[in-house]
């Protein structure tokens, strides 16, 4: 602290041309220590020795840190470390090094009580370079700032010292704040402008309504929708946009909404209506979203005119209703037609048979009771009546079977065609044991369908094969199928080596009452294949035939296939 020059030094004793630099140095009014590059003390000013409570003769030649160790009482002491670092920087860089204010306590001599005294220093180390540029000495200059630090710590000195600084800081702060505020406000303004732009140009009609039900904003689309300029909407109650009959309910629901505001669609499960300025009502969809504006709860209301959608929906509904009605009508017509067909078949079954029975019956009775009295060709004529009525009876039976195939429920069971075919062929063999027909039925032929109808199919096809091989030397009938996977249709074949037919007439094959052979060649009704085709068609399958005169015929028909599981169940 004490840095005044020692007044006791007699300057007059020093010659003017050869000043005593040692005296001058030692008397300099500053705190100086000169160190060698190995950090030993080479010289010290009186002021330095006084300030550090040391004696020159006791410290010259000694290591600086031996003389000035850290205060062992202060565990946070950094003096030795920081000073050594600074000095080494000087040695390394050969430039001056300014240290920050450093606490570096000073040992109190034993005779004065010992221990350490708290000191703060502001050190400055600068090199003295030799001719070769290496560091010859380091001048270590310090200022004792202990008092200043103490005052600062008390806050007195600081307040005085920083008064002006603080003003300056305040000014700067104000400026920074102002600038920041400008930026924030600009951002805010921009965001608000953007929001407003979005609101104004939204393709959705939007309104902002306050908790009192007043419209505070309305965008362009809303003005368009309600046919009223925005500025005329603003300030008016929301109710003007709602048909009067809904006012009470709306007010109730609106106040309810403000109690539990959340974004949601309005009027779930009921049709909403709004009213335009010109009084026109329109159906709409409304969505609500709460929003705080100026700290107050508002609701953003978006309104969509759904007139067109409603109209389209209504059209679809009408079309559907119409379609349904037409389907019902058509179904009823079909049912009526079916009904008619059924009564017709029933009538045929009952009413055509009775007179037939009478014709054949009385012919026979006549023959039996009066046969011996009939002359000439009378018996032949009676025979013809009986033959004709029998044939007509067969025709009626055939027609009935044909009509029965087109009505009634269609079974969907797995059917074993192999077993059916075997049985039919065995029956035919039993009825006509004289015929020697060879036949071969592939085992395991299954189809899904109506068992009785499929039996009719096989009975007709196998019956035909049987019939048309009558004139063949070695008649052969084969029943087989193509493989098919589940869910598909499987093709079945009934083939013979009989009379066959000319493919030119194949078109007539499946038409009722059309025959490709003369009655005296092969008798028949011409109903069988028509019936077969109907049955196959009802099962969703197809049927065709390949043949040539004298080459036999192969009938191919498809029926729904069945899976393995079905066959096992069967």
């Amino acid at each position: 602290m004490n840095a005044e020059p020692d007044a006791s030094q007699p300057l007059t004793r020093i010659p003017i041309d050869d000043p005593d630099f040692r005296v001058l140095f030692e008397s300099a009014p500053g705190l100086y220590l000169v160190l060698t590059p190995d950090l030993r003390i080479a010289a010290v000013s009186d002021s330095y020795a006084r300030a550090t409570m040391t004696q020159r003769k006791e410290i010259i030649g000694r290591d600086i840190f031996e003389v000035f160790p850290d205060n062992p009482e202060d565990p946070d002491a950094t003096g030795v470390r920081n000073l050594r670092a600074s000095l080494q920087r000087v040695l390394r860089n050969r430039t001056a090094d300014v240290m920050a204010v450093q606490k570096y306590d000073i040992r109190i001599p034993e005779e004065e009580g010992g221990g350490f005294a708290v000191r703060y220093w502001s050190p400055f180390n600068s090199p003295v370079l030799s001719a070769d540029g290496s560091v010859a000495y380091i001048i270590h200059r310090v200022e004792d700032v202990t008092e200043l630090v103490r005052l600062k710590q008390q806050g007195i000195e600081q307040s005085r010292l920083t008064e002006s600084l603080r003003e300056q800081v305040l000014r700067m702060e104000a400026e920074i704040y102002a600038r920041a505020k400008d930026t924030a406000e600009a951002a805010q303004r921009e965001s608000e402008a953007r929001a407003q732009l979005i609101f104004d140009t939204s393709p959705l009609a939007m309104l902002v309504v306050d908790s009192g039900g007043q419209i505070v904003q309305a965008n362009g689309r809303a003005a368009e929708l309600f046919r009223c300029p925005s500025e005329k909407l603003i300030g008016r109650p929301m109710d003007v946009l709602i048909p009067e009959r809904f006012h009470v309910r709306h007010q109730m629901l609106a106040s309810e909404y403000f109690r539990h505001p959340e974004p949601r669609a309005m009027g779930k499960g009921r049709d909403l209506h709004a009213v335009r300025a010109d009084g026109e009502e329109f159906p709409c969809e409304v969505s609500l979203g709460p929003v705080a504006i100026g700290g107050e709860l508002h609701v953003i209301v978006s309104v969509v005119d759904i007139t067109l959608r409603k109209r389209a929906e209504e059209e679809i509904r009408l079309l559907n209703a119409d379609l349904e009605r037409r389907v019902e009508e058509r179904t009823a017509e079909l049912q009526a037609a079916n009904q008619e067909l059924e009564s017709f078949a029933y009538a045929v079954s009952h009413d055509l048979r009775a007179p037939l029975r009478a014709m054949s019956g009385f012919s026979q009775a006549l023959m039996e009771d009066y046969g011996e009295r009939l002359e000439g060709e009378a018996r032949v004529y009676l025979d013809q009546i009986m033959l004709a009525s029998r044939r007509m009876g067969e025709l009626i039976d055939g027609l009935l079977q044909l009509s029965r195939c087109t009505r009634g429920e269609l079974g969907r069971d797995p059917v074993d065609l192999s077993a059916l075919a075997e049985r039919i062929l065995a029956e035919l063999t039993r009825v006509e044991p004289a015929r020697r027909v060879e036949w071969c039925v592939e085992p395991g032929l299954f189809a899904r369908g109506d068992v009785r109808m499929i039996e009719v199919v096989l009975r007709n096809l196998i019956g035909n094969a049987w019939k048309y091989t009558a004139g063949t030397d070695t008649p052969m009938i084969r029943v087989y199928a193509e493989q098919a996977s589940e869910g598909e249709y499987r093709r079945f074949y009934v083939a013979d080596n009989g009379a066959g037919f000319d493919m030119a007439h194949a078109g007539k094959l499946f038409q009722p009452f059309q025959r490709l052979h003369r009655q005296e060649e092969f008798p028949g009704l011409g109903i069988g294949l028509a019936t077969v085709q109907r049955i196959v068609h009802r099962h969703g399958g197809t049927i065709d035939a390949v043949s040539a005169p004298g080459q036999g015929a192969t009938f191919r028909f498809s029926l729904p296939a069945v899976g393995r599981g079905d066959e096992e169940i069967r």
Binding site: S349, H350, R357, G361, A365, M386, D397
Partner: protein, 145 residues
Amino acid sequence: MKAKTILLVEDNAQDEMLTLRALRRVNLANQVDVVRDGQQALDYVFREGEFATREGPDLPTVVLLDLNLPRIGGLEVLERLRADPRSRLVPVVILTSSDEERDRLGSYEHGANSFVRKPLDFTEFAETVARLGVYWLATNEPPWG
């Protein structure tokens, strides 16, 4: 021994003639009463209407019933016979031209004892009717003694 009768319910005169001829040939013709519709059949069985004063046994030994009848149809006649305690057990044979499944099942469901389709062939028809007559009058034991 009580007299045994067949009640033939048949609206077709030719079928009736052929039926009677067949029964005559097995000597049963004089035991047959013929009615022409369902109403007459019921009146006959219950001795009502025009049959209020008919003679003979209370119930026929067998009723040969056609289905396609004027006024009251065959199935309804059957139903009413089965519903009445007096005629509940009378044997009824349905004799019809129909070979419709619904007629066959309907007949059995309403309690028919037999269902016979009239054969189209006269010889067969005559044989069938004769067998029926013989069976129900001579072979079959009626429910009452």
